[in-house]
Symmetry: C2
Subunit: 580 residues, 2 copies
């Protein structure tokens, strides 16, 4: 009702229009029994000194916080987030990860794709509807700013009266991250240098923005202080006998993680805001960009606390286990558990992780059946390459670079010179390519070409992993798609061959996701409907991988959009105001 | 001739216009016997790891260099500098310090005043005429990026056949800087924090981009290496018996410097590109933003080398003497002199520095007499203040902040809401203000108001220094004016009183400058003609001082300008391209 009243106050002149508007809203209101709220948030983004793992360095905060404030809304609500950029000389943009932005593609927050960056001193307003309950992430989508701490959680609750397919007494939020002591500017400069500087393994793992670095390794004492309250461990409190929903999100820049709650099983009930046919696990593998909700019962010895343990998997760990405390009330929250934190599964047990991914299927009562067939097959080979001596990631031998004018503006305003009009390649030489060897990729090149999709068509995308530039090495890449959920039709190890593997698709109860893992030397098959007019990034969610080219861009139905908001303009070809 | 021929090739259609143009150029050509050249430069700006004082940190380079390339041109030439910003997430802008930009105020490079910042990935072209011979500087004019190493020299030679009022065999360039190991982002975050973090004294002084930090102080050994060739000392070679013109510029962020060439006098012949009635000194005080040319004779024992020594003055030094080697050919360039480097004058001998400034007057053959009277007197009190708990510098109790849309665009396009339309204050309560005490300045505030000048009028500006927030402390501030040279009519110690001190003005042979020192508890009086349509910054050239408010903005004759170039747009209110 708040929205209706404020509209009433604002519009005085056009009374007839107003009355019609008012009545139609009331009508809507009485039919749906839904009270959609507009949440107005004002955020200031700036650099501040922070010590999340006891080591003091510059981080990016929102209203003084990193992670930023957790947003809570109800399905159908509108979020209006007014961002003021106080980063001094750096631009920014914020992506609302998992929100499909139906009708508001300019609010997706992908710099270079859906908007120009927000410049220092400017205020930009993101306005969009959260149209499906679940757990979402927001984070910077510009350079490597997500790594600087610019991220947070969105909890979207089901409307009152709507039942979820599980029950719990309370929910808790857990945001997971990896953390470096070098600045993101130092990291990104290294990645773009001819003398390639890899970011290396993180110094710490953070749970709800808190970790613990061994300050004796820090050299000078003035930058690291283990008694700093900023790095006292994160605590999640439970009451014995109660049931909890843990909403878990990973915003890591690099690390694949395994989360284990000492002595407590977790039942996975939701993944990327879609209900899962419940799966009970001892520990949860979670990739950057994924969200999971798990049910945890407070059914252990209530006289002590337990470890929540976070371990690196997939890459050989060089980072200590991240820990938080699961506190049984009324024990003191900081009472350390009498045990050692769990060390998680073997980091290189790919099959363990592969099988956990495969076990995630749609809840039987919430299956949205995918179309039986697709109109187009896009086969994407992920490779690491050298291009003119620079280390890059490529997709079908194209290493993605951004145009200076965002695609959304360029396509809508027909600025053909902004990016290559040659379509990005839909396939690679899958018959002959050896995914198990270091490839010379002699034809790899930088490129800004994109995949334009026929509107309202069904598209299959196969992500294929291969060997990196090092012998006997292939990595796990979590790929994230903007503007859509896709069906996960299958995972495989080895090379996907469309002549045979199409038949293995799960068309019965596939889960829908927006971020999905592709395993070493493996493939993952997705299906999506191109029904959301806009331009959408699809990329590896590892910050350092997308930053050096591991992504593509999809376009659909931009011609159906109305006039674009002026606020997204200002860069490249979109400057103006009477200039000559 | 090159410019004429290329015009001929470019214009084919309008042949009559072309012919007229061609003939008029030829006419001009034959009258002036001047061959104006257009210099096309292509620069890429990016972060790179550098060790200018042996300590490895990120710096901003131009085509891989910091200091950037030295530009050499002849009076009357046009510089066309195409800047590509590869700073990843940071914008930039480059100011051509000392170039008056007559007819091209949009090429002054002051972000927020004459242009929107150049965004990452964009290319921006500065185009302007160097209309007076001398030594100039270029440097970043955005945030504190100058401190990151983005600066260099411009040598503008007299036209062939024109005599200078001094003779020499060769010239040498010397650019002086101070250098910190913290990043500029760390420095600027400290300055903007409620818990004020001052930048402190620099770790090193650099001569031509080279200094020497004592790596044993650096803690970890991997960031500091005293055998790194990047920090081997700068060498200036002379041949015994010859005479040299040393072109000296200071781009320091904080330090006032004293330069001494062991055993050699210097004769000051030029200051800020104006000929000086020659003054011979043992050592030269030089403030940030100033340039001097001095004559040095190679008249000492040629069997050894000599120190060029750089010492901090005005602030209590906590930085080792910066050194370079004056090499007498054919001694080995790196043979250390058998002596200790000179330590310069006492750092707190204000009168010594004050008197050297007062001794700089126009060369008698090149006096441009100032107007006898002025139309307006602007009296500017410089104070350090607390505003809402933040430490700031203010001018007449206004601490400068930038609007989001540059003034030039806002004024030309009549966007009145962009900045305060109330004029900035022209005076302060000089009768009652006690410049010797810490002031409470209860009325100080942040502000973006400006001084609008009547076009073609004569304006006097008095800069008045006072006590800082610390007892018995007042600092030296070098103030730099864009778009103009001003006459320096007088320097004083104590409080300027317009009732008496106007009579002390030197109206006979004042030097013209663009940057001038104001001494502790002292004043400096300037006169200028508002004859250059544009919007011009006037500010303390210490990076950390202007950054927290120590500057004002002057406007004159913007209504006389034609359409502004689209390239300077894109920020604040100047976004567009069919947006709604």
């Amino acid at each position: 009702m708040r929205a209706i009243i404020s509209s009433y106050v604002a519009i005085e002149a056009h009374q007839i229009t107003l009355l019609l508007f008012f009545f139609s809203l009331c009508l809507l209101h009485s039919i749906n029994i839904v009270e959609a709220t507009v949440h107005h948030l004002k955020w200031e983004i700036k650099y501040e000194y922070r010590s999340p793992d006891c080591f003091k360095k510059l981080g990016i905060t929102i209203n003084g916080l990193s992670p930023g404030p957790t947003i809570t809304a109800t399905q159908g609500d509108t979020l209006v987030v007014q961002i003021t950029n106080s980063l001094i000389t750096e631009n920014t943009a914020i992506h609302w990860h998992g929100i499909r932005q139906r009708g508001t593609p300019w609010s997706d927050g992908s710099q270079g794709i859906t908007q120009c960056p927000i410049q220092p001193g400017e205020t930009f307003i993101y306005r969009f509807v959260v149209d499906r309950a679940g757990t979402y992430i927001y984070h910077a989508h510009y350079g490597m700013q997500r790594s600087a701490g610019l991220h947070g959680l969105i909890r979207v609750l089901v409307p009152e009266g709507t039942k979820e397919p599980y029950s719990y007494d309370e929910d808790r939020s857990i945001i997971l991250n990896d953390w470096w002591h070098k600045s993101t500017m130092e990291q990104s400069t290294g990645l773009l240098s001819l003398n390639f500087g890899w970011v290396g393994e993180p110094q710490s793992l953070l749970i709800n923005g808190r970790g613990r670095y061994n300050c004796s390794l820090a050299g000078t004492s003035d930058v690291c202080n283990m008694t700093n309250p900023e790095c006292s461990p994160s605590v999640l409190t439970m009451v014995s006998g109660k049931t909890y929903l843990f909403r878990i999100a990973s915003v890591t820049s690099l690390s694949a993680l395994n989360l284990e709650i000492e002595g407590h099983n977790m039942t996975i009930v939701e993944s990327d805001s879609h209900y899962v046919n419940p799966v009970t696990v001892k520990n949860l593998n979670i990739y950057s960009g994924e969200t999971y909700s798990v049910i945890v019962k407070a059914n252990q010895d209530p006289s002590r606390n337990y470890w929540i343990a976070l371990n690196v998997v997939s890459r050989k760990p060089a980072t200590p286990t991240g820990t938080a405390i699961l506190n049984y009330y009324p024990n003191h929250p900081l009472n350390p558990p009498p045990t050692s934190p769990p060390l998680g599964p073997l980091w290189n047990d790919t099959l363990y992780r592969f099988n956990q991914s495969k076990s995630i299927k749609s809840h039987p009562n919430y299956i949205e059946t995918p179309p039986r067939t697709s109109d187009r097959l896009i086969l994407l080979l992920n490779t690491q390459n050298k291009i003119n001596g620079y280390t890059r990631w490529s997709v079908n031998n194209v290493s993605f670079i951004f145009p200076t004018t965002p695609y959304l503006i360029a396509i809508k305003d027909k600025l053909r010179q902004v990016f290559s009009q040659t379509p990005a390649p839909d396939t690679y030489d899958y018959k002959n390519y050896d995914i198990y060897s270091v490839s010379e990729n002699p034809n790899a090149m930088l490129g800004d070409s994109i995949h334009r999709l026929e509107f309202n068509s069904t598209v299959d995308i196969i992500l294929q992993n291969a060997n990196t530039l090092s012998n006997n090495t292939s990595e796990t890449h979590p790929w994230h798609l903007h503007g859509h959920d896709f069906w996960v039709l299958g995972y495989g190890l080895g090379k996907f061959d469309p002549r045979f593997d199409l038949k293995s698709y799960n068309l019965v109860d596939p889960i829908q996701k927006n971020t999905v893992a592709v395993y070493p030397y493996g493939w993952t098959a997705l299906r999506l409907r191109s029904d959301n007019p806009g331009v959408w990034a699809f990329h590896c969610h590892l910050e350092a991988h997308f930053f050096i080219g591991m992504g593509i861009v999809l376009e659909e139905g931009v011609e159906k959009l109305g006039k674009l908001p002026k606020a997204i303009m200002g860069c490249g070809q979109s400057k103006s105001l009477g200039g000559s």
